[in-house]
Symmetry: C2
Subunit: 313 residues, 2 copies
């Protein structure tokens, strides 16, 4: 890993004019990674910008300190992206053009000349923290805020099973640098919009328990999304609902992206491997949290998922 750190550091020092790609439906870790790297590169005197399909409202503070720059891109870096498919509308433009891939997904499939992939890291921002330490970066509060956001959101604030002693020490180091953890924790973990509350209430009505209550499925259909006028910001995080229910081993969250196309999040407790589950449907991810896309009517898509549940339980 130190060899890859070293190569990555040399690469960042040699190159210029960076475009940093984040994944579609961006979360705290991909955006935290993107803006942290952008801030570090600009601090190094490089030109850099983050490419994202959106910046959900709660995450705009991550952009603080980033200077908008005009330049022709020469170097493409992807952060927290396991597969080019996850580039969304940016896929066509950047497919096959990634020069450096920094990621923490075991299932990473990106074909890039340089890859810094650590499958056991709790968050991509944890890898970046170690890289920046290795590079002797001068940490600012803005960089620390980006890294803290990535590490805390991908671990449920140090609560999920991916949290290791190293993750907690990285958190401690970031707090020592100085970051707005109280603000970030409040926004990320203790604030819900009225729309989010309305959405949760509606989603509770969709809970379907099956296989002796060992599986729970919820569905945010386009009908619900339109009725409540909710977007990425509100839909983010729904996957914790079915997983939290006592006795549930497989929690499935279905989000209709376009008519008859469901983005599916699978969360597991205990024995079942979520990544293996999703691989059967063309997706991937981590052992306790993974995703895939399933097509068909709500009923058809559910049946496809239930068939896999039946196999794995």
């Amino acid at each position: 890993m130190n060899e890859m750190m070293s190569k990555t550091a040399a690469f960042l020092r040699e190159r210029d004019c960076f475009e940093i790609l984040t994944h579609d439906y961006p979360d705290g870790d991909t955006l935290g990674s993107g803006y942290a790297l952008c801030l570090v590169l600009q601090q190094m005197g490089k030109k850099a910008r983050v490419i994202t399909t959106s910046v959900p409202k709660g995450f705009t503070f991550l952009q603080k300190g980033v200077i908008p720059q005009e330049f022709e891109a020469q170097t493409v870096v992807s952060v927290d992206i396991a597969d080019e498919k996850l580039l969304g509308k940016n896929r066509e433009k950047y497919a096959g053009k990634i020069d450096l891939c920094i990621d923490h997904h075991m299932t990473n499939k990106i074909d890039a000349p340089l890859k810094l992939v650590e499958g056991y890291a709790a968050a991509n921002c944890a890898i970046l923290y170690k890289l920046f330490r290795f590079m002797d970066v001068e940490f600012t509060r803005e960089i620390a805020n980006c890294l803290y956001t990535g590490v805390s959101t991908d671990t449920g604030c140090f609560r999920y099973t991916n949290t290791t002693a190293e993750t907690l020490r990285i958190g401690a180091d970031i707090l020592d640098i100085g970051c707005d953890s109280a603000y970030i924790n409040k926004v990320m973990f203790e604030t819900k919009t009225r729309k989010k509350i309305a959405l949760e209430r509606e989603i509770y009505d969709t809970i379907e328990y099956c296989f002796n209550d060992r599986c729970a499925i919820i569905a945010a259909t386009l009908d619900i999304q339109r009725k409540l006028d909710v977007g990425d910001g509100e839909l983010e995080g729904l996957a914790t609902i079915p997983r939290q229910i006592e006795g549930v081993e497989i929690g499935i969250t279905m989000r209709e992206k376009e008519p008859g196309v469901f983005k599916v999040s699978v969360r597991t407790n205990g024995e079942v491997n979520a990544a293996q589950f999703c691989t059967r449907l063309g997706g991937g991810g981590h052992s306790a949290a993974a995703g895939c896309t399933v097509k068909g009517s709500l009923e058809e898509a559910k049946n496809k998922l239930k068939a896999v549940v039946e196999e794995v339980l």
Copy 2:
């Protein structure tokens, strides 16, 4: 602080036949402290037992490894207790008899010959961890589980503002010893019963926004409680719902205890002082979390509360 550590270590080595007192309505930190200290003392060849008013269902695993011992008490230690009032039904027996007080409340009022009180520690278990390190205790998984439970429950799993870099490093050290953090986090922070989910769904329908959405009120009436057959376990924690809503400065949770009698929890963000709010209705508490009792029909009780909201906003 090192001098107090040193005196406390010497005291524990010299004495024997310990009774360890926990506070009433025991939580993860007082029970984690109690059983961790009991395990350490028994490991040292001493006789020790924990005195508690109850051990709630989710906390029984903390007793693992503790050997029931018959003996006549010679030494009384209190853990995580700021005031003898908090001994509940054990107050009469132990008042004025505490030999050693280990606590992390700034407001500690216990009169004892030896006190190890660190007001800035996020959890009492964080103080015990440092004491045990100082004493070169041989940490077992059972001791680690007790300490982790205390540290994690008192910090909302490292999310509350009392979490410092030191707290995170103590968490990391405890993970290194080896503890069942996944199990503990799951039980403490990520499990909701089906009844709890049903209750939340029902409560969402009762949310009333008022005063330009700066106040939100929810109500768990006896009708709802009976319909869903819910008790203390499910009703606990509802007060976080209105407080979490974006823009809400005063979150009010009404729980009907008997017909026409509402136990009211007030949670505030920002300027408004919850204790001052509740004092006007005969209650009290802390600046951000307080309570009172209001009588009348749901409508009448709400109107009494709204009248105070109008005054303070």
